[in-house]
C-alpha cells in the first residue's frame, strides 16, 4: 500500500470536508470529472453540493471565495494550472491579501496551484509563481516537497484564517510515493533539515528538494557531506533554520525552479548575507531556471531548470571557492 503526492492532496481535501462542513471546493472541472489531475476524484460524489464546477473565470472564482469566506466558509480554489492563477491575480493580491489589514476580518481561503514544470508542459503549463505571490503582504505561500507535507500542510492551509497559496508540484504528483499518510506533522512555517551534512548547505523547496537530495547522495560517495534544507513554506521564510545550517557548514547554495530575478533564492541569500555574513566561508551561490519562458521540448526543458546534474556542478564549484 502506497500513496502518491497527488493522492495525499485528494485525501487532505476529503478529510477537510469531512471534518468541517464549511469547507467547499470550487474550480474548473473539479466536480464529477474530478479535476484535470484528478485531485478531486470522487469528492463530488462523497460530498454532494460541495464540489462546484466553475466557469473559466479565475477572477470570479477567487472573488467568490473571498465573499464566501466572509460568511464563515472555508473555500478551496483549484486553479487548473498555476499559470492560470494570473488571470485571478487581482483578486488574490489586491482583494484577498489586503482584506485583513483593511477590515480586521480574516480571509480564510486556500488557493491550490498545480505548479512547476513537467516534460512537454511548455510556457503556459509549467510556471512556478511562489515568488510573485510571496512579494505581496497578506499571503502565506506553501511549497510542499513530500507526500507527508502535501497532506498535512494542505490540511493546515485550510484551517489557517489567512489566504494560503498552496503550490503543489505537478512533477511530484505521480513520481513521489509514501507508505502511508502522516499522523503527525511539523507546523507550516518551519523549514526541515532533509539531510544533515557538514560541508555545505543546499536550501531548496518543492521538487528541487529531491534534486538536491540526489546531489547530496552523489557527493557523499566522494566524501562530501551536503546538508539539505527543505523550506516547506517560502512565506513565511524560516530564516533561523537556514542561518543555523549555514553556521554548521559555512557554505550556501540556494536552488529554485522559478525564474532568477528577485525571488525566493535571492531572498534567502539576502537574509543570510544580512544576518549571517560572518558565518560564510565563501560567497553564497544560487541556481534558478533560465531567464526565458519555460520551453516545450524535453531537451530544452531539462536544460532550462536546475537538475541534479547542474546542481552538482554548482555545488562542486562552491566547494572550490
Amino acid at each position: 500500500m502506497s500513496i502518491t503526492y497527488l493522492e495525499a492532496i485528494r485525501a487532505a481535501q476529503a478529510r477537510a470536508m469531512e471534518e468541517d462542513p464549511s469547507v467547499f471546493i470550487y474550480g474548473q472541472d473539479v466536480g464529477k470529472f474530478g479535476g484535470a489531475f484528478k485531485a478531486t476524484k470522487n469528492l463530488a460524489l462523497d460530498y454532494p453540493g460541495r464540489v462546484l464546477d466553475a466557469p473559466i473565470s479565475e477572477d470570479a472564482m477567487v472573488g467568490a471565495a473571498i465573499g464566501a469566506a466572509m460568511a464563515g466558509m472555508r473555500p478551496i480554489i483549484e486553479m487548473q494550472f498555476a499559470d492560470f492563477s494570473i488571470t485571478g491575480f487581482n483578486q488574490i493580491v489586491n482583494n484577498a491579501a489586503t482584506q485583513f489589514w483593511r477590515t480586521n476580518i480574516p480571509c480564510p481561503i486556500t488557493i491550490r496551484l498545480p505548479a512547476g514544470g513537467t516534460s512537454g508542459g511548455g510556457p503556459f503549463h509549467s510556471q512556478s509563481l511562489e515568488a510573485i505571490y510571496s512579494h505581496y503582504p497578506g499571503l502565506i505561500v506553501m511549497t510542499p516537497a513530500t507526500v507527508e507535507d502535501a497532506y498535512s500542510m494542505l490540511l493546515e492551509a485550510v484551517s489557517i484564517d489567512d489566504p494560503v497559496i498552496f503550490c503543489e508540484h505537478k512533477y511530484l504528483y505521480y513520481h513521489l510515493k509514501a507508505d502511508r499518510l502522516p499522523t503527525e506533522a511539523m507546523p507550516a512555517g518551519k523549514a526541515r533539515i532533509a539531510r544533515s551534512g557538514r560541508d555545505m548547505t543546499i536550501v531548496a523547496y518543492s521538487a528541487m528538494v529531491h534534486e538536491a537530495l540526489a546531489v547530496a547522495e552523489e557527493l557523499a560517495t566522494e566524501g562530501i557531506e551536503v546538508e539539505v534544507v527543505d523550506l516547506r513554506t517560502v512565506k513565511p521564510l524560516d530564516t533561523d533554520t537556514i542561518v543555523a545550517s549555514v553556521a554548521r557548514t559555512g557554505r550556501l547554495l540556494v536552488v529554485g525552479e522559478a525564474w532568477p530575478w528577485g525571488g525566493v533564492t535571492a531572498e534567502v541569500i539576502a537574509r543570510v548575507a544580512t544576518e549571517g555574513f560572518g558565518l560564510l566561508d565563501a560567497p553564497p551561490q544560487r541556481l534558478n531556471a533560465k531567464d526565458t519562458p519555460v520551453p516545450y521540448h524535453p531537451n530544452l526543458w531539462a536544460a532550462h531548470r536546475p537538475t541534479a546534474r547542474s546542481i552538482a556542478i554548482a555545488a562542486r564549484n562552491l566547494l572550490r571557492l
Binding site: 477572477d59 470570479a60 467568490a64 465573499g67 466572509m70 489589514w101 483593511r102 480574516p106 502565506i140 507550516a188
Partner: protein
Amino acid sequence: MVQVVDEVSVFRDTYLKAYRGMLLARVLDDKFASLYRAGKIHGGVFLGRGQEALSAACGYCLRKGDIFAPLIRDAAGRIAFGEPIIEAIRTYLGSSLGIMRGREGNVHRGNPKNGYLPMISHLGAMISVVNGRLLADRFKGQRTTVGLSTIGEGATSTGSFHEAINQAAVEKLPLILVVANNQYAYSTPNERQFACEDLVDRALGYGVEGHSVQGNDLNKCLQVLQQAVGRAREGFGPQLVVAKLLRLCGHGEHDDASYVDPRLKSEAFAQDCIKLAEESMLRERWADRTQLDIWRQQAIMEVEETVARVQREPAPDPYGAEWQALSTPRMIDGGHENI
C-alpha cells in the same frame, strides 16, 4: 379605497425617507468638497452628486441581512443601507476610531460582518465577492437574502464584470447588479467605452433579467429597484439594472469635468435629482418650502457637528500600529528588520 390610500402613504413615507437620505448625502458630499479644498483631506474626494436618487433607492430596497457592495458614488446608498455618516467622515479624515482605522480612505470602506462590503479600486472586483457571499448563504440554507452591487458604465468593460455576471447567472444567484451609466468613466464618454446601443441589452446575452430606469427620478428608481430586488428574492436569478443619468461633478474633486458635452446638460436625465425630488414633493403636497428648509438645516447641522467631533478624534499612531497583514501571528514573516 382604504387599501389604495395605505399604499400611497407607504410609498410617500419611503419617498420622503429616501429624499432625506439623498439630501444628507448631498450635504455630506458638499462638506467633503470644502474640506478637500481647505486641504483637510489626504488624497482624493469622490462625490455622488447627481446619483443620489439611484443610490438611495438601492440602499432602501434592501433589508437587514442583505448584502450591499457600493462603489464610489454611493454616499446616499450607504446612508440608506444604515451606515451612520460618522463612518464616512472618519474614513475621509483618517480617524483611528473609524472602521478603516486610517488604513484606507475616502470611499474604500465597509464592514464585511454586516454584509456591507468594502470596495477595492479595481472596478468590477466586488461583484463576484457578492456572489460568494450569496453562495455561502445558499450553503447554509438561507435563501431569502439578496446581494446588490453598484458599478458605473465604465466597469462594464472589465473582465471582472463579465466573469462575475456570468458566474451569477450560472449559479442563478439573487444578485442585483446596478449600472449607473453617468455618461463618463473619468473623462471617457460612452462612445469610447462600449458599442452596443443600450447596456441593458446585455442582460439577454448573460441570461439574466434586465431593467432600465431614468436614474435621476427617485420615484422611478424606487419602483424599478423594488421590482428588481423582489424578482431576485423570489428566485428569478440575477437582475441587471441600467440607470441613465449624468454625473454632476468631476470624477474626483481634482477634476473640473470640462470634458462634459454641454448638450448633455439639458437632457431630462441630466437634471439634478434632488431638485426634481423637491419639485415632486411640493407638487404632491408631501412637503412645503418651509419643511424642505428645515430638513436641509437639520442635515447641515448633523454633518457639521459630526465633522467637528471627528476632527477631535485621534489620528492613527505609526509607532503603536500593528504592522501585520496576517491574522495568524505564527505565520507572519520576520527577517525584514535589517533589510
